[in-house]
Amino acid sequence: MDGNNDVTWDDLNRYQNPIAVTVFWCNTSTGVVVEADLINNRNFVWASDGWDGSYDVQNIDTHEFGHFLVL
């Protein structure tokens, strides 16, 4: 938690190598989300042009951004 909403790529072996991890922090009393971060796993192949055999950035991250909104 650093006060920024980060979207980044990193090694996610500490989570047993998932595709992506989204984290958000919220104030339990008010329901306000104070920060949200998205980390894509850099150990996977990513592309934005539909390249076969890759994970599509827009597809995956649109899904993850939903978690920013507590969906």
Partner: protein, 149 residues
């Protein structure tokens, strides 16, 4: 010449001091900057593995009164809005929740849709015994993060 050099050095020192004292990021309210969960906040982590619904890990910071062991029950996790558990009962035992990690399933999901208001505790990670204070401030060490088996 000597005076000019002194002025130049002084200016350089001032520039260096300003450069190292300026903060590029304004900290958000409640930001501890050390990886801990600030009091009154809940940290929710979605871990997505290929082809599976995510593991959802809910971690609570210390309660609003500063006591990390605030009473509560698992069932109140389904209160409207966001998770409000300070602790939960699992397998007939009471688990203080201030630093407890647990996986949840989203109730109405074939994938992982739905709202967090529908989460239910699925299983406790790691130990099969209630959380016991193991550190001076009463917090438990963080547990292993992984998929439910």
């Amino acid at each position: 010449m000597k005076t000019q050099r002194r002025c130049l050095i002084s200016a350089l020192v001032i520039v260096l001091i300003l450069a190292f004292s300026a903060s590029p990021v304004l900290a958000a309210p409640g930001d501890t900057g050390n990886g801990t969960i600030p009091p009154g906040l809940t940290k929710v982590t979605f871990v997505h593995h290929a082809g599976n619904a995510p593991d959802v890990i809910v971690e609570r910071g210390p309660g609003g009164n500063g006591n990390p062991f605030v009473s509560g029950e698992a069932s109140v996790c389904s209160d409207a809005g966001l998770p409000t558990c300070d602790s939960f009962d699992w397998d007939g035992q009471h688990w203080p929740g201030a630093s407890v990690e647990y996986n949840v399933n989203l109730k109405n999901s074939g994938d992982d849709g739905g709202f967090l208001s529908a989460i239910q505790p699925q299983r406790k990670l790691g130990s099969t015994t209630p959380v016991q204070p193991s550190q001076p401030d009463g917090r438990q060490q963080r547990r292993h993060v992984g998929r439910p088996k």
